[in-house]
Amino acid sequence: MNWLTIKRIFRAGMLDFWRNAFVSAASTLVMTVTLFVVGMAIFGGVVLGSAIQSFRDKADVNVYFVPGAAEDQILSLEKSLQALPEVATVQYVSADDALTNFREAHQNDQLTLQALDELGTNPLGAVLNIKAKDISQYDAIGQFLQNQETVSTGQPSIIDKINYFDVQHRAALDRIQQITAMAQFVGKIFIAILILVTLLICFNTMRLAIYTSRDEIQVQRLVGASAFFIRAPFMVEGVLYGLVAGVVTLLLFYPLTWWMGNATSAFFGGINVFSYYMAHFGQFFLIIVGTGVVLGGVASFLAVRRYLKI
């Protein structure tokens, strides 16, 4: 294959794209719908992921210390917790802070506050609030804390209670894990089916577009054109459909994500699709336009094949 042949193939592909305007427009439109679905699937995945993440973030484990536990012991436990690979953050709430928080939480409950004043001393202990990197890792952290508790035998343990071992707390954690795993699974299946269906529709459209040219392909073959020389312009045409459809899809997403941006961040929490789109535009460009180009090229390649068998 030489430069002249390549030039002829590109010229023929572009001329056909232009002269077959109606077929080109229809194919590009279907391709645009396909790429739009692919893009929406990506956005859907991102929004779902962020919603699941913010839901999972609500899970935590609290370690309550006995009142009057030495602060340096608590801080050393905090340090060893932070060193664990499973731990994302550890927040230390001192006994005084715990009391302040308690007072704030019950500021309208005079009876409780009066009872507290009656005591004279701070009945609350310090608290370590632990968040794991992943919800499945609380078990390991719980194990670690349990070991810490037993290590300190001989002297009274400074740990009063670890809410991970509360039946209710554990059940809640398990529920969160189950629901989010289920949501992720269903989301993935749904997105996969959606993409598969639109890809099939797109493939079929390309087949129909090339079906209209089947006589032409036969004539080209009988006139002495090689299979490659016939097929390549169709592939150029397919790639052009993908290219145009990809650019149109990216343009459509601009106003759409802008319009949906605030709504998604308010509803699902965290993510704004418009800022996500802008921040990841390069990746979106590669995925959407790349999918279009590959889809157009491959679909044309396959669709022409059956008419070349003479």
Binding site: D215, R221, V223, A225
Partner: protein, 226 residues
């Protein structure tokens, strides 16, 4: 040059298109194949282009068994054979000029050659004025002349014209036959299938008569006898 060796074609429903057909064609000959519809004329010429495969027997083109050629080598064979069809079969999205140029581009000919040869061939079939028209802007006779221009532009050894005048009026028929005669005078072998008695009788060339898939007559300077 071309040799049909005991060629038969039997379709799946046991209908016989060709039965034990043997004949040869010498270089520079003008041979007409005549017969009723369904006599096997078109099947016969499709065999040479490997558009159809024989059930038994072989077709040779310059000592090559056409049906043993791999698909990838088929285009080399087809470039040596120009084809004209009854229904013209031009590429609808290409102009007359581009249709003719396509055959040269497919054969990998240089741009300069295309620029000089295509106008020349279009002039030969008297279509210089319509070079930039698309097929649907041309009359049947004009389309057929474009098809002939496309068939001859690569200077093939053989031209197959499968009922080229079937869709044309008498004036256009006469013109097309004159062009084919002119090409034959320049040394190209012509294989013509036709129903047209007037055409055959005026040619005074070899005629092969087909009947129910068999060769019933093969006359050196034949007439249309059915």
């Amino acid at each position: 040059m071309i040799y049909y060796d005991r060629v038969s074609k039997i379709y799946a429903d046991n209908s016989i298109a060709l039965e034990d057909v043997s004949f040869s064609v010498e270089p520079g000959e003008f041979i007409s194949i005549v017969g009723h519809s369904g006599a096997g004329k078109t099947t016969l010429v499709k065999m040479l282009l490997a558009e159809e495969r024989p059930t038994t027997g072989s077709v040779f083109f310059e000592s090559i068994n056409v049906h043993e050629l791999p698909l990838s080598k088929m285009n080399d064979l087809r470039r040596k054979i120009g084809t004209v069809f009854q229904d013209f079969r031009l590429l609808p999205n290409k102009t007359a000029y581009e249709n003719v140029a396509f055959a040269m581009e497919a054969a990998g000919r240089a741009e300069a050659e295309i620029r000089s040869d295509v106008p020349h061939v279009l002039e030969l079939v008297d279509l210089s004025e319509k070079a930039n028209n698309f097929p649907d802007e041309l009359s049947g006779g004009e389309q057929q002349r474009v098809a002939i221009a496309r068939a001859i532009v690569n200077q093939p050894d053989v031209i197959i014209a499968d009922e080229p005048t079937g869709n044309l009026d008498p004036v256009n028929t006469f013109e097309v036959v004159q062009i084919l005669k002119k090409i034959n005078d320049l040394g190209t072998t012509i294989i013509l299938t036709t129903h047209n008695k007037g055409v055959i009788d005026s040619l005074k060339k070899r005629v092969i008569t087909m009947d129910k898939g068999r060769v019933s007559r093969d006359d050196k300077e034949g007439k249309y006898i059915l």
